[in-house]
């Protein structure tokens, strides 16, 4: 928490102003001793002491630094050393030199009248100064504090906690967080993991319940959030300073689609000790139809096809439907839909009624049929032809729970579908206020891929834009991450009220989006160590550098080493494992005996029902769903009929 002890009364510098470098209301310059703890990003306090400046206090953050001596020309140094650098180093007298710093004003007190910074003493900021400088006092104290610790501002031996305002991180005032930085340093993921932990622990009670949905898009990054990682003493000290409990997430729910076999989960969290906590993510026709646009090539979706898909969604699916040829249908699955299509084509052909069915041309119907029919093939494991679906618990989201959806090994089309549907469902439920929580933070990595600045207008990009622009009213908050911020759609990054920057590539820093940063700040950004970030937040008038502790969860790479993924199981074993997880009293052999010789499709369908219904007697339900076993009937042997006129010499 904030240490309110009095700051060091000894000044570390003095504001200077010349005609060339004047002090302004937004910027000032000060000098320090050459041995100083001031550096780029340091927060300083200026105390006005001159006439008219008594009592004025200005806070600033160092944005640039200069050092120079009284040397008028480099040639003078060469002459003095007679061309020998070693002699220059051995000169008896060190040249007078200056450490001159440029600082951007963070806050002036009093705020009015806004005047140039007084030419006063400069002090290093204390904890309390940092809180005032960053205007954190507005949300750190009071009856309803909304402060979320985000890291430690460190400079000159000082470590001051820095807080975000929950009202500006999760809404409703502003929302969304965007984090960018080069890949491979684990900074982005670590920062989000730490911040989610801090958010869960410090989300103000009066703001209600909060949950997080994280899309795991690469490797095992987010697959061990419920396991403690290794923390060093330094990390624990930082957690203590930030008043955050260094513990893994208590409630984590994992979801992953199946692989193509329909029984082995498509995730790296398949170790025997962990796979039990992974729920399958399987969607059927009803879940997919609303997002057909995601799955179909954009060229396919003309107005006619779109109208027919809407017709199916509104009038056919999950309804009793008469096809007009005497056939009654109740479409729940892709298989049901295929039967309907076949009925329509047969009916039109038999009736000779031409090419139109219910105002839709048969060519359009064929096109939609072909595309939809292929969906379950293209997204095998995620989309099922037949059988029940398995979904996130929309409407029953738990407070402070993390829902991790592992789509790392799903093909891009499937990933698009998962993003689009999950986020759309979240939005729907939040609009109706029946999700189970009041706010959801959605973490999406690789925004360069999903919301690029250029390229086609994909459904996912539109969805991300929609969250960015409207999410804060709903409590739907996007925590986005990417490598190149300049290559993410401007409205996605622009709507993120909180911007976090890890180490940046020099080429990226050369793009126009970073022009507001001083060269020194850019250099610092280009060389940021792991665990340090630059932060922009609506309350902070300038970017601030903070350090955050290592997240208290097992890192993906370490998790995979500790819990190596299991090999894919044969079909029977995989089914048995799923059922024994639901009922540990069940013996695998009982399951294997039951499904032996059954069609795999039938078993998958029955297994889906069991998974969804969770009956008391799993085996009985499975048996009932599989139906009676029909014994094979051997063909009767027929008596041979002798030829009427046998030919003894018949050569054949």
């Amino acid at each position: 928490m904030i240490d309110r002890s009095v700051s060091d009364p000894v000044p570390i510098g003095r504001v200077v102003a010349t005609e060339q470098k004047p002090a302004t209301p937004h910027q000032f310059h000060f000098w320090t001793a050459t041995e100083t703890s001031v550096g780029i990003g340091a927060i300083v306090r200026v105390e006005g002491g001159g006439t008219g400046d008594e009592g004025r206090v200005v806070y600033g953050v160092v944005t640039d630094g200069f050092a120079y001596s009284d040397l008028a020309s480099p040639l003078h140094d060469v002459i003095g050393a007679e061309g020998d650098p070693a002699r220059a180093a051995g000169a008896p007298t060190a040249r007078a030199e200056i450490r001159l710093w440029t600082a951007a004003v963070l806050r002036q007190m009093p705020e009015e009248p806004l005047q140039p910074v007084p030419l006063g003493d400069v002090h290093m900021a204390s904890d309390a100064d940092v809180a005032l400088a960053l205007r954190m006092d507005a949300y750190l104290h009071g009856a309803r504090p909304t402060a979320i610790p985000v890291g430690l501002y460190t400079s000159g031996g000082l470590e001051a906690p820095v807080y975000l305002d929950a009202d500006f991180l999760v809404g409703p005032e502003a929302a969304h967080l965007n984090i960018s930085g080069v890949s491979g340093l684990a900074t982005k993921t670590s920062a989000v993991e730490f911040l989610l932990g801090a958010l869960f622990q410090h989300f103000p009670p009066h703001r209600g319940k909060i949950a997080a949905v994280c899309f795991n898009v690469k490797g095992p990054d987010l697959l061990f959030l419920d396991h403690a990682g290794t923390l060093e003493e330094e990390d624990r000290r930082r957690y203590d300073r930030l008043n955050v409990e260094p513990a893994p997430f208590e409630r984590v729910r994992y979801y992953a689609p199946f692989k193509a076999d329909g029984v082995n989960l498509n995730t790296l969290r398949t170790h025997g000790d962990l796979v039990g906590a992974v729920e399958p993510l399987v969607w059927g026709l009803t879940e997919v139809l609303d997002f057909a646009e995601v799955l179909l090539n954009r060229d396919d979706i003309d107005a006619k096809a779109d109208a027919f898909i809407d017709f199916l969604a509104d009038r056919v699916v999950r309804r009793d439907f008469d096809d007009g040829f005497g056939g009654q249908h109740h479409v729940e699955t892709f298989a049901d839909l295929e039967r309907l299509f076949r009925s329509i084509f047969d009916g039109l052909e038999n009736a000779g009624r031409g090419d139109i069915w219910r105002t839709h041309h048969i060519a359009t119907i064929r096109k939609v049929r072909n595309r939809l029919g292929n969906v379950s093939t293209r997204c095998k494991g995620l989309v099922t032809d037949d059988g029940p679906s398995s979904d996130l618990p929309f409407g029953r989201f738990e407070d402070r729970a993390v829902y991790v959806i592992d789509v790392a090994n799903v093909d891009p089309l499937g990933q698009d579908l998962v993003f689009a549907r999950v986020v759309s469902k979240l939005r729907e439920h939040l609009e109706r206020r029946d999700l189970g929580v009041d706010a959801v933070a959605v973490f999406v990595d690789e925004l360069n891929k999903y919301a690029p600045a250029d390229g086609a207008e994909t459904y996912v990009k539109k969805m991300l834009l929609d969250i960015s622009e409207r999410g804060r009213y709903l409590g739907l908050v996007l925590f986005g991450a990417e490598q190149f911020r300049s290559q993410v759609h401007r409205r996605v990054v622009g709507n993120a009220a909180t911007q976090v920057f890890g180490r940046m590539d020099a080429d990226e820093l050369a793009t126009p989006g970073y022009q507001v940063l001083s060269p020194a700040t850019k250099i610092k950004l280009a060389t940021l160590p792991v665990g340090e970030l630059m932060l922009r937040h609506p309350h902070f008038t300038q970017p601030i550098f903070v350090r955050f502790p290592r997240p208290p969860v097992l890192r993906g790479r370490d998790g995979v080493e500790r819990y190596p993924p299991a090999q894919d199981l044969p079909f029977e074993d995989a089914v048995a494992r799923q059922l024994t997880r639901l009922d540990p009293g069940l013996r695998p052999n009982q399951v294997k005996d039951l499904i032996a010789g059954r069609e795999e499709a039938d078993v998958r369908r029955a297994l889906g029902v069991v998974r969804r219904e969770r009956p008391a007697d799993l085996l009985a339900t499975l048996r009932r769903r599989l139906g009676g076993r029909v014994a094979p009937e051997a063909a009767r042997e027929r008596a041979a009929v002798p030829p009427l006129n046998p030919i003894p010499e018949e050569p054949y």
Partner: protein, 334 residues
Amino acid sequence: MSGRRDWLTALYAAGITPASFLPDASVGRLGEPEDEPQAGVELVEDGELRVHPVAPQPPPAAVGFLDGIQQWKVVGYDGVRPIAVAYVAAAVRRRGPDGRLRTAFWEARELVVAPAETLDEPRRRAIAAAGLEAVSVETEGPPPLQPVQALEALRREVHRARQALERELGRQAVERLGDAEWLVVDGQLAVSAVLARHPRALGVIKSHGAQFLEGRHLERALTVPAAHRTSVFRVHGGHGRTEVDSWYLRLWPWEGRDLFYGLIRIEMAAAPNPGTRVPGVSGWLLAERATLAAPDARFDRLLYPIHDVETYLRSRAPGDLLASPASRLPRTGT
């Protein structure tokens, strides 16, 4: 300084004609001529003035450097009699093992200098009340004094005030000098008996208005090659002087430039067997070529630490003393 401004306002209100005039060389000590009377010299090293090569030597671990500045400006005329305000300051900056200079002593005086008849008692009281120091200039001859003569008299008074300050600080500095510590004075050592007798005090003279040698000795001394010194000669005490040993040292080659380029004269307390200590001192001063005192125009003879002391003193001088009202207007186009 608001006291000076208030005093000036009152002065002008009392009928003194305002003025703002910077006489030449009022911004510092620019080659102050050595105005000491010619003194007798005696060679104390070698039978004939010779030239000795000098090799750079490491300087002592701790050395103090003493210098002073003077600034003055005519601020008004009482009839034709000039009234000037002056600022004199001196400092000793000590160089430690890290090569950095830090202030050991500093003293400054702000003066009002005017002919005696201008500084009547009420004006003296007003000057004192403003925190300034009144200095009367006793002029020779009957008033009214010629303005040019009066200005020269004022300049000399300011010069004397600065020298007095330097002498005082020099005295304080040598009293507290450590066992192995040296003091280098910008200018003649001989002006202070205390300094002139101290075994670890040096005077480094950059201007050569006063010459102690004649004939072939003078020619040999003034044409000494770079990194060479002359034999040591003893300058006997004359009016206001204390006996010191002295020699010339060339820091930089003068060929192609000027006769005095890089040439300094050194004064040191008189002592037997100067040949035993002068080579070391010369080598040390030769090593002081780096750091070069550029961009000061006198960098060929000005030791960087002395330049540093001057810079220090100027930075502490009142900023509004030399500035004329016109220069306070913002420059256009900036």
